[in-house]
Symmetry: D2
Subunit: 327 residues, 4 copies
């Protein structure tokens, strides 16, 4: 007989909190014990996540029950540490943190807890054994999945990447670069060669064998769409296209959400799914890898549930067989 796992969400009124609710309300093994939000406590969750009207009578709460089976932290960067420092978390309670507070190895141990970097395609076994998960960043997920199979063959300083992200990546807070009249039909760059995700990408790839005599070059762009990430990487390689395809297909053979396409990919193929699609091309001694994910799913809350499934010993795709948007 299947028992129900009680979970709680801290920061449930934000974008990743809402996306987590959308998934977990339909997850067959999970009961949402609380959806914590200081700012919205007492209101129905559909007052903020308007699409949930008619689907749940759940309300935001202002109390946190640390005795649940799993706590998701959908809190801002820097906030997760503060919250964990304040809470008295029982030893049995699992934690999945969506901030960047515990992603780097130097920050993975906190208050006697050891956080495991939750990229299943990188270290599924470690996640299955983990009690505490640091969920990867959105750009970091796309870029690592684009490069992981090559990690042992590349030097980071020879890798060039450009990525574009949807406006949901900038969060719910009103700001001028998310104001519709400015953002629609517009493209702009930010944090050129200095995005905060470079650190976690570098740790993963070097632990996979990549040389790092310099940094990889990553240019992030703001896109004029709400949801999605598209990344293109250019690397030097002596592999033929056929060899590279074989390498990637073999690497991801056992991973249910990451697929190597033989045809051209486009970002919307993965909208509203937990998938990552990859496309390889070769020109001279360069390999070009394109990657597409949904920033709120494989780039955040979907991957968090994938990690939940792995930690709990459930099928990896439980509750994540989402109908794609397609259009």
């Amino acid at each position: 007989m299947s028992t129900t796992t009680n979970i709680g969400i801290i920061g449930a009124a934000g974008y990743t909190g809402g996306e987590l609710l959308r998934i977990l309300l339909r997850h067959p093994r999970v009961h949402i014990a609380f959806a914590h939000s200081r700012s919205s406590a007492g209101q129905p969750v559909y007052s903020i996540h308007e699409d949930l009207l008619g689907e749940t009578s759940l309300h935001f709460s202002d109390t946190i029950d640390t005795g649940v089976d799993v706590i998701f932290l959908c809190t801002g960067h820097g906030e997760s540490k503060k919250i964990l420092a304040d809470l008295n978390i029982p030893a049995h309670t699992r934690i999945i943190d969506l901030s960047q507070d515990f992603r780097l190895q130097a920050q993975a141990a906190f208050n006697g807890k050891n956080f495991v970097y939750g990229l299943p395609e990188f270290q599924k076994a470690a996640i299955q054994q983990a009690q505490y998960i640091a969920n990867p960043g959105c750009f970091a997920t796309a870029i690592q999945l684009a490069l992981l199979p090559l990690a042992g063959q590349i030097a980071l300083q020879n890798v060039h990447l450009t990525g574009i992200t949807g406006a949901t990546g900038a969060g719910q807070k009103l700001q001028s670069t998310s104001h519709f009249p400015w953002r629609s039909n517009n493209i702009s760059a930010y944090k050129s060669l200095a995005h905060q995700h470079i650190a976690e990408i570098t740790e993963t790839l070097t632990s996979g064998g990549a040389k790092a005599e310099g940094e990889l070059h990553f240019i992030p762009w703001r896109g004029d769409f709400a949801r999605g990430i598209f990344v293109t990487a250019v690397v030097n390689t002596s592999l033929t296209l056929a060899e590279a395809m074989a390498l990637y297909q073999s690497f991801y053979a056992e991973h249910p959400f990451t697929h190597v396409s033989e045809g051209t990919i486009s970002m919307k193929q993965v909208a509203n799914t937990n998938k990552c699609l990859l496309q390889l091309e070769q020109e001279g001694n360069h390999l070009v890898i394109h990657a597409a994910i949904d920033n709120l799913l494989k780039g955040a809350s979907g991957q968090a549930v994938q990690n939940l499934n792995l930690m709990m010993g459930w099928p990896e795709d439980l509750g994540l067989q989402l109908k794609p948007l397609a259009f």
Copy 2:
């Protein structure tokens, strides 16, 4: 023990066919026996429905097995009749037709088959008994759900409606009004006061008691988005807002997909769901009703599966608890 129901899709390479595949591939009681497409026969379904890459190895077929339990006709208007005339359908095979060929009462009987108009909020019992379903039009669904509770109190000639639809409503065929440079950031009207769905709306509402000494006035607009329908109706009424709210809430109390919102609704609340959201406002002796649906789901393939569930005696929302897009 649950047995599997075999279904086939004719016209599986089009937009409504693709949306049906996205739902039925995850439906717990259904096996897709064939996905018929003359133009794409032999190709994997993900070659056309690119988002299905990694989710199914199904290929389009050029043969039709009429012995399946249920056939979905995702064919163009006028095509369904031709196909049924050509096929020898066994008596036990159910049919759900998404074209407009059998929606009107005068056209509901064909080749010894009697098609039932498949709007569950209008006649759930009849659908549960039906062998053949004529699935409603997209605009027709939104408009009928906006007006059904009032049917006994209105005269159609006093109803004024404007609706806007996404570009997927115009189908997969390349055409100038679906060319991106023209359609983006653009609004235009078509078929003013002459949309083909007026006929099916009129039949439903008059059978619900509406007077029809003239036609309802419906202005359809083309929207600059891919997915969704938003409709606003203005009607004369002597009801107070509280009375109207009570009427609507009572009318839809037993219908799992149609909800009356107490707050302002917006079209994206229902994106990628089978829901219809309604909002009521009153000003003087006028009631204003706003309705939002996803044109490909509640407006087409989602409602078709809802009808399937009802015909088969399954829970009405089986396989239709879809994660909303939200953004």
Copy 3:
């Protein structure tokens, strides 16, 4: 010899102020004496209106020179009255106000100044003689141009209108209904049957002969685009389509910016122009009129310059022969 007219803009850092700057910087008869903004004083205008980078060295000022030839008030509703009450405006200084403070006849006289409603297609002669102009609202402009030729033949209570507006219509202030993740691909209604422009429309149409035993019915929608307004009106009429076309073409024959199209119109045809396009259709005893304008131009700053030209005795389209966007 052509002399230069000195103009000043109060509220120059907002959307209508920016659009006015874009036009007047290229206007052959105008010198911009000051662009007033309290919040941005001292900064170059391109720091706010980023598209003006490379086109002008003008800075926002915090002082107002009331001795210029013409002052434009690009201030919020209610603000214009306060500003005029505080300023000592010399008798020779003309004023063009873009707020709604002086549009209605009951509010047109203020501090000894009589404001003329600045819709050139309605009362060009009065504008040519005016010293003070109340510039019409954006929706009001589109709706009046759609209905003016029929004014003598309609009763307002029989007119039904739906309009959709771009996000620039909601201004520069950050707000949740202008947040990109919410607004993109979304449609919603607001102020149903209660939009503030109904009053100015009613005054114009009744002075043109329309009966008003009730109010016209206007449903405004928020659109998922930045710039533009599209309106559809349905009215009862005994005119044939040919008669209506003749009436409209004759009515607008001498007006350089308003045109009756023989083909289908779309909103983007007028983007970045001061034009209004109209399309007529007939069905039974109903006439359908579609109207498209750019909300920031013919709906605001473009019409303000048109009024300037008329007041000054210049060609009506001086500085307004703008290259359309088209795409």
Copy 4:
């Protein structure tokens, strides 16, 4: 006294032809003698370029008067050669070709005509003397303007570029990658490291001193907007940011359309203008250069008129002081 220059447009019904008409109809020194289109001959130009309704009575013609002062060729790649081979062009007739047929030095001489590559920021003097102009490609314009000041200091094989382009760049022809349901909210890559513009960029930069022991790396993306190009280049350099800024500002000091921004740029800043905006950033020993243009203006028809002005000895920006779109 200013005389009028007669110009003709061949291929006037396409996107670049339309954009040329939008500019030249308002150009103070130009008379449009003919707008040639085989497919649309006899129709008013506004039947295709719908935004020109109300602005001109010009019709497409099926005859070409080779005796005009200037002919613009807005024809497809490969077509220009065929047309010139067929026509008997008098010696005095100037030609501006927007195709790629004559851009490379090896192809610049044709039928006794020598085409000059029309990038004013690269060789204004040569353009002023030219009789025949090969107008640069859209991506090529943005990339060259991003790199020209550095040409003497870079090796092309160390340059990495990603660019994104609007759907108008793919032209008026209906195709699946310009179908609205597919393109909206979507990003995809094409011609990775193999775009046809690399050749013309390479010629310009090497003639400016760039080393070329390998090719520059350029990844083009399809954007989900109609108009615009945004490009980011990453190059190795020992220059400080201040030195680079000084170099770029000095290089473009005499060029009216290309500006170096001290703040962050975004693509929409240049929409509907002939400008190119550049932004520089530095990180370690890398310089990052962002460039934004309107693909139909500085990337095509606007630059063609800039070349016309230079050839004719007119002010470089005559008829090109376009009101920006801004939103």
